[in-house]
Amino acid sequence: MAVDTPPRASRTDVAVGHAPRSEPPLGLRSRLFRLEAKAAPYLYISPFFLLFVAFGLFPLVWTAWISLNDFKLGTPMVFVGLENYRWLFASPEFYNSLWRTITIGILSTVPQLMLALGLAHLLNYQMVVRNFFRISMLMPYATSVAASTLVFAQLFGRDNGFFNWVLSWVGIDAVDWRNGDLTAQIAIAVIVTWRWTGYNALIYLAGMQSISQDLYEAAALDGASKWQQFRHVTLPGLRPTILFTVVVSTIGATQLFGEPLLFGNGQANGGALGQYQTLGLFMYQQGWDYFELGRAATIAWVTFVLVVGLVLLNTGIARWRTRDRKAVR
């Protein structure tokens, strides 16, 4: 549909025709008719922009102002300048949650996207029951953060958990998933990975199916092995898709909140030693456990800056990793 170009607009005017521009006295009816056509698009997009300004843009900007205030729930705001930022950067809890956010983010995002890529490759084969495989892989996506975390919290139980039982088959002693440092982070990463791998696999599959079959045939004619075809045709072809999933997963990872909250029985401290305290959880703790909304806003802004930095870094890496050295496309 390549008709969407400016000339078409003038053609429409001619086609409408019953009121050429040179003819001065337009009837009220046709003037209203024209006015309606001009105003209609703005009417259609107005709900989005009105709601966005009220519940998106205004809060976004206002967060910056709140972060410069001492603001406890139920009391008036008191301007304190950069005091909240000074508090934050002197707080060991901040560095802890920053570090946990990064490690849990890596532990969940990297395996998730790699698995999704492999799965997409498998789902791309011709096979019977392929819809069953696709639907079952998307089932976790239909589950809520709360439900999946509560189920996995039991599977990761120390004394009677299913995973420890499986580990006991190979002679590994019961792991205290929740109280261990790395183990708690792995457990949370598993929950995230379980929920989002199938979804990402479908996105990759859609991307793979839009790569022209000719490229594979040409590569095969040139004697490229399956692995070489994957590296030099599939990966470059998926590049925009991969970039997007990387950006989106990075943002998702910095927002992690429900999983660590419920993994810790609803406590916002992220474990006894804060071993799975994320930035999202830290913000919630300051804002709604301690009622320090000014500090919560500060954490939100610092997180935002971090997200932007991480997204830039990750897209840079992903771009470099999927760069096609032979420029097939």
Partner: protein, 297 residues
Amino acid sequence: MTTMTVRDAAAVSPLTPRPRRRRRRGGDHAGPVAYVLLVVTSFLFLAPFYYMIVAASRPMSEMNQFPPPLTPGGGLWRNILSAWDAQPLGLAIWNSLLVSSIITVATVLFCTLSGYAFAKQQFAGKKALFAVTVGTMMIPPTLGIVPLYQVMAALDLTGKLSAVVLPSLVTAFGVFFMRQYLIQTLPDELIEAARVDGATSLRTVWSIVLPIARPGMAVLAMLTFMAAWNDFFWPVIALVSSNPTVQVALKNLGSGYVPDQAIIMAGTLVGTLPVVVVFVLLGRQIVSGIMAGAVKG
């Protein structure tokens, strides 16, 4: 806050121009290795659901045995009733249905209209406004939570369902999704013909755009409903435990110091069932809906 996370944007992400999709006529057939791998991963994806049923149907004492039981017991109903006593689950399900339905209807309507304007109509500032719309998908929802809470407190809405509904009535993702859909499916000639016949813009929307948009609206409705039902962060902050949605009730159920696992699992099962039923019935459409935007280049 936003019921549609930025993740969903990936569904329609790779819309950069690329060669037309060719039908794979004789694509490779899966070998036994591929089948084995797929069966194993499908099992891993589905097993937690089975475990949920097992744990929800046995008393806690039985779930505390080692090794844990692997088959459902007979206590499902009793556990569900206990969960019902522990949390206002009936109210929570009603609240979730209400919130998700309102959000879905509003989102589908508003996004279809906006999507139509961006796809097929000419107006000043269109490009810039669309860029802003897409750009908002990149803003992390947590960033504006504190002021949003303030706004709701000022409007005296905290603890009320409207606090959950209001910020989610429209999503940038939905606008984007419907725009892509209508660019693909709605011929320009139809709109022009309607205008020649003297139809007003609203009339054109009603009798031409909406009927054609219906399949796209259905996919958006399913995705929106699931996202709204499963939304967690903002409802947990905005609502109180006496008036929860399902997710808030589940959070409260799982927040005890000595949680009864059987009751938690029974509640989780009840709260998950509606979406899973929708998903099993409409799974194929949801799968193709998520893939559709990505495939059409």
